[in-house]
Symmetry: C2
């Protein structure tokens, strides 16, 4: 309902991978609706207010309002599409483009819920979580961010990420909002 979450899994001691970020309005747990156990963790990135809804309640709701099934299912299919894009991000884009792509995705998704505008969005990540999301090390994320600032794509570090050059970000990240399956 408020604040930012992330979905992640631990690998070996100390190493983890973030698989998605979640914003107010998301239903991160929908992905386990029909699964017996959870194969990963969901945690907070900031102070957050979270609504817990038992699976049984969701299933009841869907049973009485079948039209909702398509909507909820669709939501999980879009999550899957985002996972696919992240596979591409990690597999085939190097640090600079990868981080640019992450910023683009966040801007578009945050705009949808009114938490970002043309100028930028609130910065809710540490460099270390950015590293865990991108499969890079913090030691490499840091200079890459500086590099993006040097190219005037984003503004100086602060409480917000200032978007200085949206087209530059889009082109560096090879970003298209296709996979987010927005409405209009």
């Amino acid at each position: 309902m408020e604040g930012y979450l992330h979905r992640f899994k631990f690998i070996r001691q100390g190493s983890r991978q973030i698989m998605s970020f979640h914003l107010p309005g998301d239903m991160p747990d929908l992905l386990s609706l029909h699964l017996k156990h959870l194969d990963h963790y969901v945690g907070t990135l900031t102070k957050a207010t979270v609504a817990y809804v038992p699976h049984a309640a969701i299933l009841d709701l869907l049973a009485t309002h079948p039209r909702l099934i398509g909507c909820f299912w669709r939501d999980t299919l879009i999550d899957a599409a985002v996972f696919r894009e992240w596979i591409i991000n990690i597999g085939r884009r190097e640090a600079f483009g990868h981080l640019a792509h992450i910023f683009c995705e966040q801007v578009v998704r945050l705009k949808q819920v009114g938490l970002a505008d043309e100028s930028g969005f609130p910065w809710f990540l540490t460099q270390s979580s950015l590293a865990d999301a991108s499969g890079l090390s913090t030691v490499h994320v840091n200079p890459t961010l500086q590099n993006m600032r040097g190219h005037s794509l984003i503004g100086p570090a602060g409480k917000r990420v200032e978007i200085l050059d949206w087209d530059g970000l889009v082109s560096a990240g090879g970003f298209s909002d296709d996979y987010l399956h927005l409405r209009n």
Copy 2:
């Protein structure tokens, strides 16, 4: 129905990323059931026989047999879980473990449909598709495979992948079949 498929996307000229493999029995297109457009491609890896079922037919079926909704939805949720595991694979495992993990996943999934046994499974990948799936280059996949053969994890190149040391593969790949949400 027969043969092997893959789900992929092109990045820039010549570079592509495979996001999943599909075996007989899979319904790869279910992931676009509630989406307006496809944001990637699905193609064959071998000669294949494929059944095309219009979305409308699926939706009809689900409307008349609501019990199936959970099953089909579940299928897409498991696909999403596999995507998540691939994110981890690409992000946090290096070549050797990554390829080992891919082999483990294939063995488990192929066993489910009777196409693999303890000894191994049919080899349906070129080194180049393995590279596109793992985010590596063919030039690096090749010696890594040789390395796995050298460690007696898998048998010599041929029409089949011979599994010589299952436990070794599992441990090299940090594999757990958790995320596949198998029945038993």
